[in-house]
Symmetry: D2
Subunit: 329 residues, 4 copies
């Protein structure tokens, strides 16, 4: 039984706390959040202890592992503090918005960097994981082209956008990791940004984009992003190989279809957002973390994967702004 502290009682911390509480191999012992009464409320819900002092949870004896769901600028500090306290670590993506800080973090972690899990939850979605496994097993031959459609249901507030690091570091970073999950190393990045909503443009960001990534293998991944989608959270994946193709469709709450006089076989809108869409992924992600901790084995995705995705995001940002294609070293 792994005793776990969750750092951050916000939206994602709440998801992790529930997953830990429900998991047969984990016990939720602490919730830490310096702001307001979020930690206390969340802890009460699950019969855990709470604190406003993150350090208290990081050093508690009944904590074996820490799940970091704090604001992005605090991730590196919390990772390093948890590591110093000898705890196992899972941290939400991105590691940081500044690749120099990520590099410093990796340097300080040393050998243990490949034990610090980064929460690219989509790798654990049963459908995407199935596609990756079947493709890796050779079922569709040599991989040639990957298409990732990734649209959020609605744009975040402009205030969020302004400090998000931009669409590529904030939103597309998940898709960059998915491309790496499927195709391995990326060597070239090319991004076209769109300004659809003037408020987001005013906040200095794109709200839609198309990115092409060329892998070392010669395969190309195309990522199509939009900050809004009328039908919900549009999350699709298509992997084309030399002998076949695997694709994953959008999810709805049920498989019910309606037919009437005006249209037929109509399904419900997609599940609204990541909490609903990736419920199963958060559970299997946690299981993967628990297993790796139990055996003290390297874990994937780890801080190195977090760094690689951020490097692509930096390149995409540059490409979209300048129109230049960027080669990654």
């Amino acid at each position: 039984m792994l005793n776990i502290a969750v750092i951050g009682a916000g939206r994602i911390g709440t998801v992790h706390a529930a997953a830990v509480a429900a998991h047969p191999g984990t016990r939720l012992t602490w919730i830490a959040d310096p702001f307001g009464d979020g930690a206390a409320r969340l802890a009460a819900e699950h019969g855990a202890k709470s604190t406003l002092a993150v350090d208290e949870a990081l050093h508690a004896e009944d904590v074996d592992a820490v799940i970091i769901g704090s604001p992005t600028p605090l991730h590196v500090d919390h990772i390093l503090a948890a590591a110093a306290a000898g705890k196992k670590i899972m941290c939400e993506k991105p590691v940081d918005l500044d690749i120099a800080r990520v590099d410093a973090c990796i340097a300080q972690l040393g050998d243990r960097a490949d034990r610090v899990m980064i929460g690219f939850n989509r790798r654990f979605d049963p459908g995407f994981a199935e596609i990756q496994a079947r493709a890796a097993a050779g079922e569709i031959g040599d991989l040639e082209q990957v298409t990732i459609i990734s649209r959020d249901p609605a744009a975040p507030p402009a205030s969020y956008v302004a400090q998000s690091g931009g669409i590529f570091r904030d939103m597309t970073i998940h898709d960059f990791d998915m491309a790496r999950f499927l195709l391995g190393d990326i060597v070239e990045v090319n991004a076209v940004g769109q300004h659809l909503d003037p408020q987001i443009e005013a906040a200095g960001d794109f709200d839609a984009a198309v990115v092409t990534l060329t892998a070392a293998s010669g395969a190309v991944a195309t990522i199509i992003n939009n900050r809004h989608c009328p039908s919900g959270y549009d999350q699709r994946l298509e992997v084309c190989g030399s002998t076949g193709m695997l694709e994953a469709a959008n999810h709805r709450a049920t498989l019910v279809r309606y037919s009437g006089a005006e249209y037929t076989e109509a399904a419900a809108p997609y599940l609204n957002f990541f909490l609903e869409r990736y419920t199963a992924a958060y559970t299997t992600e946690l299981s993967a973390f628990v297993t790796a901790v139990e055996h003290d084995t390297p874990i994937t995705p780890n801080v190195h994967d977090g760094r690689a995705a951020l490097a692509i995001a930096d390149a995409a940002t540059h490409s979209a702004r300048t129109g230049e294609r960027v080669r990654l070293s």
Copy 2:
């Protein structure tokens, strides 16, 4: 080149005339219809001759074969007259509403009865024909259960219903033939009728029904009929065997799907009715007729098939009225 006369310039005669005119192996030479100027109009459209005297067309020298699309009560007369004139024959379904008249017709045709084609057009639908062929080739093992969903877009007028012979002889007869096409001889019939529209009930008929047919093989076909369907002409087929299943979906004009805020992947309504839905079937039906005529070989479905479907319709009528299951001899 086969010279063809079409008897009857109504809705179905118009379909056949167009198919003959477009077919590379046939020439439309005559249209005969005793009522009004339908024959003249239809003939003008295709550059054929027209007559109000059916006999004139039946005996014309430039007529090798006759397609009979006259009202049902005239079918037998026209079949026998055309046979007497030495012409090849395709006749719309049903042969007649009275099985005694069908038997007399068969007796008079003698050896040639298996050369007189009956227009069960659905056997020639590319999808249904593919299913029959793949099932017959053993692709899904022993056939166990067939489900035929067959719903018209809207009920005909009560006046039509009153002289139609009833839903089983008029509408379900196509499905009875489809069951025989897939399963061969039927030995037991069980029908449940429904009265949904009081006007059709007043006309003495059911307007919906569920019929189960037991084949000599032990397989069971279920037919679900309705005189109306909000989404159009609902024509589906599902054949379950011991090792697999084959199914055919409804057709729309295009494969376009719409997704919006309220629903997703919505298709158009089904094609409205048989002229649109079975366009391809009428063409391949004609080709099958032409080929059989050219080689003077027996043809399927023929008058015997027309009789067999009518016998099932009679049994279903009895079953639905009395609640008794009917064994066919």
Copy 3:
């Protein structure tokens, strides 16, 4: 927090124990099973107490409600004993195979019969429940025809079949309840049985069947059953109304589709059987029970519903054996 004892540590008892253990509003306190060490093992897994004496659990102070998953012949005894002990009751279907015993049970329960839940789990499947709710809200007009496809992945052993009460009381009873869930009272039953597997025929049972049920409203439900299906547990529902249609498709583990040179858009086989297919249904079923217990309100489906489904099963058994249509009083 509702303290619950589970009676029976077999396959279905295991499902209920896990659901109770995971439910935020229930506590699993006892597992009782007189045979072997099943109760001890299952209790250990969930930190509950166990006993070989069912009575001990039925009378324990830390038991508010009992979930009965014992063999069918014991259901009535356990229901009555639990009721005598003042416990709330959920019992697996069927109540009993003998309608006289069910009537006696109802008589003895008196006013409380509508508080004893019967485990027709499919009513709680999110897809089927959505269809029922939307249909009941009038979204598709007057209900006209219901089609229930229900095929098991593989037949049970002949030994099970021999004491199962027959396909209609054992398997179709779920579909009878689904028809009642959607259409209300059934007034006429008509069943056609099939003998596909000689071993099951030797055991005195049908292994496939088509049943048509006429509702008091005039709507007809068609149930197509088969004890085996090559593609898994085939569970589909289609409800046609005067203005529209609602349908629920089969479930797979993921929504991944494969396309290759020989075929395209191929999905995985269906989820294999009821434990996988109806996982969500068992959870929502338990929630419905908990809510009804908390408010001491009547619950649906209850023992009266169990009796009604059994009466249809008896009628179907008679109809399939004799070929007679059966009117329910």
Copy 4:
């Protein structure tokens, strides 16, 4: 009745000849092809006259309009000769591989350039045309992102590739026209080429590519091309707007699906190539041409559209080779 000469008796000329012969408003009078006996054979099939001298057909009195299906390098000559002879013109794409020649052709045509139809047949595919019409009518709000998947079933021979003008001028040009059909003027082009097949690389061409086109409106179209696809001719379109999405799926010969023990709902491979996939498009394209000729109205797509698509192809070629984004003037 429009009298039509078809220039070129190759694969595409054969398609046009058949469409003309079957069309109720056209008469196929001449086939001209200087090489071998292709013209004679094709003419015999349709009861038309044939000649080895293209000029003879261009100047024949019983020719009102000319459909040019000759090799690409001859297109401009044939367009100008037909125009000089006072004939109406439909010409296969591309106008030419050299934009200077296209400009010269347009200059010489003068006012009549917008009456010379270019055979971008996909605009006339019923599904794509429906999407364009519904999108143009505002059904999905402001257009934001278009995704065009366009994969051929198998690469042409390296000899063809070598003189094809490259993938962008030969294959993608259809997709460039589709993007313009949906989004109007394109202002920026960005192309990433792939070398999958060494033989095609040796021939100096890419055999797969991803192109992003930015429209003047700010919308972005993504084109994903591959010279081969295991499942057939992969032709999909997805248009996302601010309030909804429209998509067109791949076509098969029938809508039959197979389910068995290993996979379920498997469809056939896609229709193999353009002749099968775009049969309906060739017919409606011809109708559009006939209507425009009858009313002497401008037609779309015309030589200006052919030039615009070629300009995008030139830009894509440059972009893929240099890695530079290209702005169109």
